[in-house]
Amino acid sequence: MPAALRGDVDRSHSNAQTAQHALSQFLASVELKAFRIAQTALRHEEDALDAVQDAMLQLARAYADRPAAEWKPLFYRILENRIRDVQRRRSVRNRVMSWLPFHSDAEDADDPLATVQSPELPVPQRIELDETMVALQNALKALPHRQQQVFLLRALEGMDVAQTARAMGCSQGSVKTHYFRALRALRAQLGDLT
């Protein structure tokens, strides 16, 4: 290979390392919040971890060469799609299971998905949190999915309306509406949190 081409490759190799470092920092900065968002939506730790891992892999595989400023909306868009996929699979599974003749309540008791409505939180660290935190979690779980996701992307992840709209695949007006309704519902349930 000619030396000029080798030089190009070396330069692109250096750029790739820089991009790799930036991507690592980005993923480290979003992973905990992304996990919390996925867990709130899916109410299942393993499913939430799988969804976050899939979103990370997909972002790295397909969008690592995009500008870093685009990563956050893209990442949460992918995560949102994964969450939807899991919810759809659960819905189908539950429908099929309810039709099966050998389906019984005893199986429901063993199925972790059947216990997701429980107000008790599975992670031990949650026990240390005060009643307000538990109440907030329950109030978030009671929100419709779009309101819940829009609220978490804005309040937890700190995304603005435009970024949230890109991540959710909807209009900015829709984001504002969902966010407003989520705030109103949370305030109705939690009070002013004073």
Binding site: L129, M133, F180, R187
Partner: protein
């Protein structure tokens, strides 16, 4: 809709609670997330390496391949003999018509005999051929005399 009617303090408190909640994630989950991040970075590194190699290969091989293709096309164009325009031919579903077929089709009398299709003409012609030359000759003479 007016977001301003909800105090910003309420949103800030919610945000702080959520941050605190995220910070309380267990070590086991953090470890899983770290593993997932490393897997994603390995994936990005792999696809980036493949992209770099393919870019270098493209830069090296594309001009050479283009020149080769151009040369082949040039040779093919120059080596193709220039033929005179072929004579037009009639095409049917059965293939090209010969000159004999064309003359047969243009002969209305012959075509009428063929189209009769009852074979009477051919039976008559065969019977005539079986006659002796003498009888044939006599018949010819009598015809000539009688006619």
């Amino acid at each position: 809709m007016n977001e301003a009617e909800y105090p910003a303090a309420f949103e800030r408190r919610l945000g702080a609670l959520l941050e605190r909640d995220a910070g309380a994630t267990s070590g086991q989950v953090r470890s899983r997330l770290t593993q997932a991040r490393y897997a994603a970075l390995a994936e990005a590194s792999q696809s980036s390496g493949m992209w770099r190699r393919s870019l270098a290969a493209r830069r090296f091989w594309m001009p050479a391949t283009g020149a080769l293709v151009a040369a082949v096309v040039l040779v093919m164009v120059l080596s193709t003999p220039r033929h005179a325009a072929p004579a037009p031919s009639f095409q049917t579903s059965a293939g090209a018509l010969t000159a004999e077929d064309v003359s047969l089709l243009s002969d209305r009398d012959g075509l009428a005999l063929v189209e009769d299709g009852d074979g009477q003409f051919y039976e008559w012609a065969a019977a005539q051929a079986q006659l002796t030359p003498k009888a044939g000759a006599e018949a010819g003479e009598s015809n000539e005399n009688g006619g």
